[in-house]
Symmetry: C2
Subunit: 347 residues, 2 copies
Amino acid sequence: MAKERVTVIDIARAAGVSKSTVSLVLQGSSLVNEATRAKVNAAIRELGYVYNRSAANLRQSKSKIIGIVVNDLTNSFFAELAVGVDAVVQSAGFVQFLANTSEKIERQREVIASMREHGVSGLIISPARGTEASDLAPLVESGIPVVLVVRDIAGAGVSSLTSDNHAGAVAAVRHLIERGHRRIAFLGGFADTAVFESRVRGYRDALLEAGLGPQSELVIGSAPSRAGGVTAIEQAMMLKERPTAALCFNDAVAFGVCDGLRARRLEPGADFAVIGFDDVIEAKTAVPALTTVSVDPQGMGERAAELLLKQIKAGRAEPEAIVSSVRLVVRQSCGAAAERRMKEVSS
Amino acid sequence: MAKERVTVIDIARAAGVSKSTVSLVLQGSSLVNEATRAKVNAAIRELGYVYNRSAANLRQSKSKIIGIVVNDLTNSFFAELAVGVDAVVQSAGFVQFLANTSEKIERQREVIASMREHGVSGLIISPARGTEASDLAPLVESGIPVVLVVRDIAGAGVSSLTSDNHAGAVAAVRHLIERGHRRIAFLGGFADTAVFESRVRGYRDALLEAGLGPQSELVIGSAPSRAGGVTAIEQAMMLKERPTAALCFNDAVAFGVCDGLRARRLEPGADFAVIGFDDVIEAKTAVPALTTVSVDPQGMGERAAELLLKQIKAGRAEPEAIVSSVRLVVRQSCGAAAERRMKEVSS
DNA sequence: TGACGGAATTGGAACGTTCCAATTATTAAG
DNA sequence: CTTAATAATTGGAACGTTCCAATTCCGTCA
């Protein structure tokens, strides 16, 4: 029962042609006669041939693999990003090699090395916290196209695709100010990331623009998770002057903030306004539906993949830094929808 | 700047040894002298050599890749499963090839074919809805070790790792009955899956055991998502005789049910008892914390990977069907924790 | 000194594909 | 019927590694 591997040579023999012809058929070449193509395909089915990509890769010294490395797959933002990438990558005839680093630089180094050994033709990386340009240097020198996504790294010399975090935060805070809020917190996230930095900067700028001084005690970091959101809002509610609204680092934190609010018998959307960031799928269906800055992770994954494929096709391309625009999606959790409904009725 | 690929031969030349010796070093063979090993390693670093796995795979006709195909990566249950697999697989020196089928049989066929072409040494599959034994036949005939996870497929002739859905459902429903509930609903999930079938069977058996007749109108299917949970509970509340408690198909549905309850000004845990299934990470931190049947997706991923690695090592092993036990984790959403606290105080 | 044995090293063949240049078959034109 | 042009097919080399059998090295013992 231990079957020998069937190779192009076996197919060739069965179909009465040469291995070169079989190879041509495999590649869908137009050079081969329709009748022989049929014969060959029949033999392939007959013998249960499976293509050996290792051999092909070796010969052509290139593969149809693209690698994607994410820092936290259990965060649904990144899971969605990955499925976005997968969708376009596979429809371009590539296959995706996905690795999760759990924010560990060392693990990231390993998986990138492993991907290079497998001869990926390109890499999409959402770098782990603390990744520096020097960590990526050997990779970019090798000339493999790389697209950094979500988190950019200064001086890395590769393309990047990030969201306009600053503008998103500004829009969210302006909206809260319009709704009459004066004490607005920024909750969650690790302070040492570029994403955090730009979102907080947007938050500060919007506050300043409205003449509301910098309220440093209202910026409260935490793990960027649901649990982190709970602790952040608890901390915020310990202040003598409590906030009445919060912009959260991401949607997971925002959900945690809602949880923490309810634990204190406060209803998010009614008693306290909360705005998230990212617009993960659950944001729409949660109760109250989450007002959030839509980043469209899946769409970002798709665009990153397209950018990468373009670079692969073009050979060596100039690195470009794309910042994709975001928009505020107003739902219930900031209390705005209700007010607007009233306004619509009264006008 | 276009660099030539550096190969073992270049290393050999630089280190003044033969390519065979370099190969030995690469494989960590004990045959090679410590001094030469050092020389070779120095040359490897010096020239920036990167191992070509395609060539190695071709020669040895085996790879260090294991494939994992899941039916829905955006569901955090499966994302966690994947990270569990990744953890053990990578510490065994393998690398993970992850693909998402989005429940599409056709896509599943493609990714499995692609993985075979890449010469994976084993496959962990959480099959798409409607997958039949015949879909997997060519794969299992090829002798590649396969472990089915989460969803078993009758007659496939491969190992499987599932959770004890029946026992979990029985435990959950018994708990609700003990708490005094008499009208208990089963909410969410697609009726044509084996997982649904066994959970509902457990639900029915527990009801029967307590002399509560079959309450067929209380079994309400829906998409196994948060949005699905909202619609299911809405439907349940339209009945003339409303339920007072529900066992949900999974945690996502349970969260949706909580949302739907709140939309009707009912507080989950106080006014209505809800129990989930799976115990995803958010279950613990949600408010109210979700009572749920713990399936430990990450642990399941780890066990599936271990099972697969064992089979790969053993060559051809007898297929085994493992059903991993589950346990009811009582938190707040079923109202039990509060009662118990009262009891503890009074006793 | 020579023979022996274990440790370390080595050249060449092989893995299954693709590419290239060359060959053969077919058709069209004169 | 010959020649040219085009279409279809082909054998062999090459890709970078590992494996095998063979060889060299070196110290030890008689």
